[in-house]
């Protein structure tokens, strides 16, 4: 059952790789696509050759049984070589020399073939045993495979970990960490061979197929790598509900400030129709712009002497330093609304406000969330707003 699930994971991951290859065929250099394809084909072949179904199909009688093992190992070496070459191609760019690892890989392939035949290994049922006098060669064969695997997978993981550390937060970064996870799982899969070498050195024979843990690690490494490589396809779809909920929360959190400004300056509102015809992202953008429009419309009513007073009040009220600027902006806005209702114009030279330099909706919305928070909760702002309510009540 475990093996079936593991192989199913591999099939799904390979489907993902196939999709990625088709998607990127026109945008990526041909050589890089070949490296990625080479990795996919080799790892698929390496896993497939050792499945019970394949062994049943071709049989395990000599020489096919032992050659099946050699072919699977060579395909795994090929997969690791392609993976490292692919990582280097991304790191260095197309056309740059990535020779040392290619040379190492070809040398290892040649050495592995030589060591395999020198060992005279053969299949005995479920096991592969070293031939007479060939145990040392067979141990060397397995040690070389292990060392090469560790070097290659470590190189691959380091290259992608460096990319992941420096990538901006988001699906790309998560995808890169998943690829690193795939590389680390593959390291575990390769390292698991240490016990095989110990068993081989002490008994002269080793299990020919993959054990359950190896199969799980193999599926995990291919699955994580496949998930990471294709995250851009399915990640946004998975993340969209959370992103929309976050946008809607921001939309609602700035509502008190927006509502107060809209009441004072009805002309700022563009009525797009019932509901959210452009979606929540559009609605949030509109709300941010309308708050800024209201801010500009109230500019004759901003008291130029208020900001330093509000700042001193905020510090006296022990408002955390990070929230002082937002508190001052909320207090000056509240005072402008009071002045607007009273018809008291100041006509200052400039509107006291924090003018964000980045034309970025997320940054601006985050700032307005802070201002709204101060608008609702800060004792400094609440005092100003209460004076407005008092003057309204006295008029009534």
């Amino acid at each position: 059952m475990t093996e079936t699930i593991a192989y199913f994971c591999c099939v799904v991951a390979f489907a993902g790789f196939g999709y990625k290859l088709i998607q990127a065929r026109h945008t990526q250099p041909r050589r890089r696509m070949w490296l990625l394809s080479g990795f996919g084909m080799c790892i698929a072949g390496g896993i497939m050759l050792l499945t019970p179904a394949m062994e049943n199909a071709v049989g395990v009688e000599e020489p096919i049984g032992s050659l099946l093992n050699l072919a699977a190992d060579l395909l795994k070496i090929g997969a690791m070589a392609f993976a490292v070459a692919f990582a280097h191609s991304l790191k260095l760019g197309e056309g740059k020399r990535i020779g040392w690892h290619a040379l190492l890989s070809w040398t290892v392939v040649a050495a592995e073939i030589a060591l395999f035949f020198l060992s005279g290994s053969y299949r005995v049922g479920e096991h592969t045993a070293a031939g007479p006098g060939g145990l040392g060669w067979f141990v060397a064969y397995n040690v070389l495979f292990l060392v090469y695997g560790l070097i290659s997978l470590l190189t691959f993981s380091i290259v992608f970990a460096r990319f992941a550390r420096h990538a901006d937060p988001g699906p790309l970064r998560v995808g890169l960490w998943l690829l690193v996870g795939g590389g680390v799982s593959a390291l575990g899969w390769t390292f698991w061979d240490v016990d095989d070498i110990y068993i081989l050195a002490t008994t002269g024979a080793v299990d020919a197929g993959e054990d359950t843990l190896s199969a799980i690690l193999a599926a995990l490494s291919v699955g994580l790598a496949g998930a990471g490589a294709t995250l851009s396809v399915w990640g946004p779809a998975m993340a969209t509900p959370f992103r929309l909920i976050g946008l809607y929360r921001t939309y609602r959190r700035i509502e008190p400030l927006w509502a107060a400004l809209r009441e004072a300056v009805p002309g700022i509102a563009l009525d797009p129709g019932p509901g959210m015809p452009g979606g929540v992202e559009f609605a949030l953008y509109r709300r941010v712009i309308e708050i800024r429009d209201g801010h500009l419309a109230l500019r004759p009513y901003f008291d130029p002497d208020l900001p330093p007073v509000a700042e001193a009040e905020a510090r006296k009220a022990r408002i955390p330093e990070a929230r002082v600027a937002a508190t001052v902006e909320a207090a000056t806005l509240a005072a402008a609304l009071v002045a607007s209702e009273a018809g008291r114009r100041y006509a200052p030279d400039d509107v006291p406000a924090t003018y964000l330099d980045e034309p970025d909706i997320a940054t601006e919305a985050a700032w307005l969330v802070e201002v709204t928070r101060a608008w609702r909760r800060s004792p400094v702002v609440v005092r100003v707003r209460n004076s407005r309510d008092l003057s309204r009540n006295s008029r009534d």
Binding site: L90, L270, G273, R292
Partner: protein, 187 residues
């Protein structure tokens, strides 16, 4: 949504889809391309808007179009006001001539902001004050749709395919090109 609103959305979406936005977005080059396409200069003037004036203004003369937008607001808001005035140009709004009664406020603001411009030369004045007029609604909706498209392109526009650089930035650009997100659906 009533029929008039539906029609407004449809028209603005169609206009926004037809606009080629630079990637990454730069207001100066966008306006320059637009001016080149229309065969008429568009002058951008960042001004400190007077207290009682509109927060953005489009003035047209025989020779050129002038977009006046405020310095005293955030970068996002400035860009939006600029796109609003561009929206008037894209929609082909005519507003009213400089001497008409209905736009006395905009004309007065224009005069304050550009005192050297003779009122006789002004063919069109459109001020961004409120959205009661259909032309203002249309320009504002178009500006909002364009801003959404700019926000989307800036997400994808930060990293471009670059085979030349062998440094970390070049590597990240290649990684983003291969594994990065695709564009999302636009409103």
């Amino acid at each position: 949504m009533d029929r008039r609103r539906k029609e407004l959305w449809r028209r603005c979406r169609s206009l926004a889809d037809g606009v080629a936005l630079p990637d990454p977005f730069d207001a100066g080059s966008f306006i320059a391309e637009l001016a080149a396409g229309r065969g008429r200069p568009i002058e951008l003037m960042q001004v400190s808007v007077p207290a009682s004036g509109p927060c953005g203004l489009l003035m047209s003369t025989e020779r050129a179009d002038y977009i006046l937008y405020p310095a005293n607001t955030t970068a996002l808001h400035r860009r939006h006001i600029l796109l609003h005035e561009v929206g008037h140009l894209l929609c082909g709004h005519v507003g009213a001539d400089g001497g008409a009664d209905g736009i006395a406020l905009d004309a007065a603001a224009g005069k304050t902001l550009m005192p050297n411009l003779s009122p006789e030369l002004v063919r069109r004045v459109l001020g961004r004050t409120s959205y009661s007029a259909v032309e203002e609604q249309e320009a504002e909706l178009l500006a909002s749709l364009l801003a959404q498209r700019v926000a989307r392109t800036s997400v994808r526009g930060t990293a471009r395919h670059d085979e030349g650089g062998s440094d970390l930035a070049g590597g990240l650009a290649r990684v983003d090109d291969l594994f990065g997100s695709r564009k999302r659906r636009l409103p």
